[in-house]
Each structure stands twice: as C-alpha cells, then as structure tokens.
Symmetry: C2
Subunit: 353 residues, 2 copies
C-alpha cells in the first residue's frame, strides 16, 4: 500500500499580517527565517517517508504559481486548485476522490501547510506508526498535540479507550471539544487525557471516501459527478462549475465528530500552528541561543535598548533601533509596518483591508 | 550696496537619525513633507529679497552634488566646499573673504540651512529692516528668537540698551549666555529681555572681515594666504591644504562674544531649528488641520489606533498600523527604522554608528 501525502495550502493566515497577506499567506513565507517556507518545511519533514510522486497539494487557484515555484518536484497533476474556499471537507473529498482514482490502495497523511514541527525524528516515527495503524481498514487516526498550557485557541480531543499499549499509545476518540474558555481549558489539563486537534489526519483512501459517502453525502455526490473528468483536460472546468456547490464545512464537523472510526495518537514533537505573532515569539525564544529581556528578534540588524518582551520580525538587512518598548509586536513585511501590543494580536485581522 | 545671502549647509544633523544621515543630512531632506528640502526652503524664503547671483552656499565637499541638484540656479563659483569641518568661524571667514573680493561693498545675511520659518512675510520684513540697519558700517546684527518656553537646548542673548524705538526694535547685545539649566532658563523668561540665538547674522562684508582680523587673527591670516587663489583654478587645492589649519571655533565665540558691535533684533516669525524629533512633532501639530490624540503623523498611509502623543514620520506610500503606542518616535527612512521614547530623543545620536 503506497503512502500519499496531502498538503492543504489554501489558508489565508489573516492574523499574521503584515507578514501574511491575501496575495501571499503564511504557508508561502519563511516565517522563522530558516531558509525554507512553511510549505517547503511541511514537505521536508516527510523526506524519506513519502515518495515525491505521491505528494499532493491542494490550494486556491490564486496560489498555483507559488506552489509550483516552491515545490518544483511535485507532479503537475498533483497540484489541485480549489476555485473557492469551502473549508476542509470538500477539500479532503476532492483530493481523496482523485487519489482513489490513481491508487485505490493508497494510505494518506493529510496535513496543514503552515504549522511548525521542531523535532523531525520524533515526527517521522509518529507518522510511521500512524500509517502502520491505518493500513488496517476502517481506522481514522488524528494526531493529538499534548497540551503545554491551557490554550483557548484550539479545539481539544478527549481520549477514550486505549487501543495500543506501547508508547506512544493510541486511543479511541471519546469526543471532540470546541475551543474552550479558560477555566474549561484548565480543567482539561488537570483532568488529563485531552490533546489539541492539530488537523493532521491519517487514513486509507477507501476509509475516508466511505466515511464521506456516509456522513457528507451531498459533497460525495458532487465528487462522483466530477470524478469521470479527473485527470482529463476538462477537470478544472468541471471543478470550477461544481465545486462551489459544496457546502462550507470542516472535515472535523463532517466526518470526525460523527464517525465511529476515529482514533487519536497523543504526540509531543515541538509543534506550533504559528497562529499568531505571540506563538512565533514563544517558538523564537525557545530556539534562540541568545535571548535578552524576553525579546524575540528575527532580523539580523536589530538593536534593542531598554526594551523587553517584544516580538520583532523585520527583513534581514533592515537596520532597526528600538528603545523603551515593551510587550509589543514590531513586524515589517512588503513595505508594511505593524506596531501593536502583543495582548491585542487577535485584533490584527481587523486592522488591514 | 548689493545684498548677499550665505547659506551654511555643512551640518550633519545627527539627532535626526534615521531621517538625517552622514550621507544626506537634515538640510538636504524634505523633513516636513512640503515638497521642498530644508535647504530649498531656506533659499525660497529670501525670494524677492536677494538676487540669485548673490547667493552663496558653503558646505562640505561631500555634499557638492546635493547642493548642485537642489539649488540648480546657483552660480558654480558660489558653492564653497570646506575640505573639513572647522565650525562656523573659518566657514564665515572663507565666504566673507571671497565675497569681499567679488563685491567689496556687499551686505551679507548668513543663515543656517536647516531651520524652519513659518511666517515668511514677517521674516522678509525683518530681513529688510536688518539689512537696512547694517548698511551703516560697524554694525553686526543677530536675529534673536523670542522664547516660547524655557528651552535648555539653545544659547540665549541678553538685551542691553535699546537702539531703535520702532517695532521691531533693535538692542545692543549685553551678553551671550550658554545653554542654561532649566531654573536659569525659567529665570530668563521671567526677567524678560532674553532671546534665543538662532545663528542668523547680518553685517557688511567689511565689518565682519575687520572683526575677524581683530578677534581671530590666525584664521584671518590663513584667509589672506589663500585669497590670491580665490576664483582661480587653484582655489580648491590651496583650500584643501590650508583650510584644515584653521582652529575649530564658532563665529559666536570668535567674534560675537568679543566684539563691541553686536546688536540683536528680537523677532517672532514661527521659527524652529527642527533640532529634534520632538520639535518636528510640535511644528507638525501646530500646522496640521487634523490632530487626534496628540499624534503628529507625516506619511499618507498611517493608521493610529489607541495611540497618543507620538511623532510618526514614514515615507508616503508606506502602510503603517500602530496600536497602543504612546509618547514615542516612529521614524523610517532609507530602510532604517527607529522606535523610541520621545523623552530619550537626545540619545538618538548615540544609537547609530
């Protein structure tokens, strides 16, 4: 059974402005200044696990060239272009129907394209184990991130019965919990057995297609209508016409919360969704050798004077002097500058058009 | 008696970084975003008073092309290039010796190139009156800025006997006072009869040359050595060799504080030396039609949110969002960004190399 990788790269990353813009969202940027974009890093961490011929990217038509430029080794027919955003269920359905047509025995890993993983060896071990687990039919596995704080920005997965005894072990999913308020999140951490839902899924193509047929029959019907045209010259035209008819629904709502086949593998490999400037600050502080006064600085010509607890991200080569600034974000990208309180970062998406 | 204008444009404006840089100091910049550089505005405000053939600029050799570019109408032989900085006395001596050679009956106005004047009609009236006053030999006139606050960053001029009774009246100068501490400055304002020394001087060329001979004989001697070569092809070579031998001394120390011929004309024409970001903030606030929360903003794509009392100066076209910032300078120029407390602006010159 061949292993396929699906990278979902259609997000718009509005909270990471001005780095992330509608023209070039977060996944296409080298946010951490490591020399590779988030999308490229996503592919890189599957190196040795998945054959390049089995890599798929699904994105918005607007980002076609960005994907081609950043992942030159990918098969042209494996870059899937959604004509509009319909959340993750139609997206997963489209790519699953296509993969099934090409390789009916495929195992799939589905991953976001804009998350960070620090410990690649552990990540690879987890993916290997997960793929092995779902090589048996009728198993849908999600990776659950062991929580490091009572984060209120993520959904939580509550573990049920333990299925595999060895470490890391796998559990039936008891229930999915929406983003909690702070007391609830603190309760989850105290109680134990809860992990963050990071949107990383493993399954066989037959299992997910069957589950979509059962739980999202309208979407499955639209896919069936289009399937004859997949891998033909008419594919995009048909897609442009019919895909917009799919309802807007996430794969979590459409399948994960309904299926009886959902399992969770709790993991710890230094994960961040880099959802906000604050999370970039946390990651930068944890990986920098030199940290002074809690300033996370990305940019090679930045001087910090009498300043503390800031997140500074400016282009290399840009000379910056900051004095007397505390608890702020200073971010410059594409000739656009943001200076704001870190505590107000959730409002950033409201400040740009 | 022809009237000559001397614009001193050799300053380095280190407190206005990052706008002002050693390569392009403040006088060559359009600090207030009015469409003309400080140097050009300096010339503009003498329009109708001084014939372009009688305008002289003395600057550093490094800035030759900046002056040529910004003041295209100026006679090439009237752009004087100091090979090194020797403060204002050698500078004034050099240009005075040259003017005397060209026009022994000249009246001169000497002005800095990087100050701001708001009320041009009043300024012109003052200059007319001052030139009239110094058309009689043996009078050295300085314009004294009527103080609007107990500023500790300027030298003060103490008025003596009143010479002319009409408004504005002219006084003998009793004494020059160095930059005072705050209690002293407050005392000056209470007492009255004190003005700020803005470095604007009026005199006949014969008077200043005679005073330099008497009070700065070494500098005068060097000028005499060089004078034969002025307006010849050897001028710059001789200047490069001999000018550096001049001592570093200001015209205030060398002449003004020693001469018996010094008079002051107290004036009020909306003057600022734009010495600091704070003074630009004051000027911007006083001239802007729309001011919110004490933010002085120069830049046409700046959004201020929950911010107050800031000075923001960024290029037009640069998108900037600032939230939760108070009492700060945000200045961007030439791909260099400064963010600092307004209260610390005197330290800016220490923060850049």
């Amino acid at each position: 059974m061949a292993k396929h990788l699906v990278i979902m790269a259609g997000g718009i990353g509005s909270r990471f402005w001005p780095m992330s813009t509608p023209q070039c969202p977060k996944q296409f940027l080298d946010i951490t200044d490591c020399g590779r974009t988030m999308l490229q890093q996503t592919l890189d961490r599957f190196d040795g696990l998945i054959d390049m011929n089995h890599v798929w990217v699904i994105t918005s038509a607007d980002f076609h060239h960005l994907v081609e430029d950043q992942l030159p080794g990918i098969h042209p027919q494996h870059i899937l272009l959604e004509p509009c955003m319909r959340n993750t269920a139609p997206c997963v359905a489209y790519v699953s129907w296509k993969i099934q047509k090409e390789d009916p025995e495929a195992l799939m890993v589905v991953t976001p394209s804009d998350h960070l993983v620090m410990n690649i060896p552990v990540f690879q071990e987890v993916i290997r184990k997960g793929l092995d687990f779902v090589s048996e039919e009728n198993r849908i596995l999600t990776l659950g991130m062991k929580p490091t704080c009572p984060e209120t920005g993520y959904g939580y997965i509550e573990q049920g019965e333990q299925i595999l005894q060895d470490e890391p072990s796998i559990y039936k999913i008891k229930t999915f919990r929406e983003k909690p308020d702070l007391p609830t999140a603190i309760g989850y951490l105290k109680q134990g057995g809860f992990t963050w839902n990071a949107g990383i899924f493993l399954w066989s193509v037959n299992t997910i297609v069957a589950e979509l047929r059962q739980n999202a029959s309208r979407i499955a019907g639209i896919m069936d209508q289009m399937a004859d045209y997949f891998f033909t010259e008419y594919e995009q035209t048909v897609l442009n016409e019919l895909f917009p008819e799919c309802e807007r629904i996430s794969i979590d709502y459409a399948v994960m919360e309904k299926t009886q086949l959902a399992y969770v593998l709790p993991v710890e490999f230094g994960w961040s969704d880099l959802g906000t400037w604050g999370s970039l600050r946390t990651i930068t502080l944890s990986t920098s050798r030199m940290v002074e006064n809690g300033n996370a600085v990305i940019g090679n010509q930045v001087t910090m004077i009498e300043s503390s607890q800031n997140m500074v991200k400016v282009p290399n080569g840009k000379q910056v002097v900051i004095q007397g600034l505390h608890n702020c974000i200073v971010a410059e990208h594409n000739n656009t500058l943001l200076i704001c309180q870190l505590s107000e970062e959730q409002r950033i998406k409201d400040w740009h058009k």
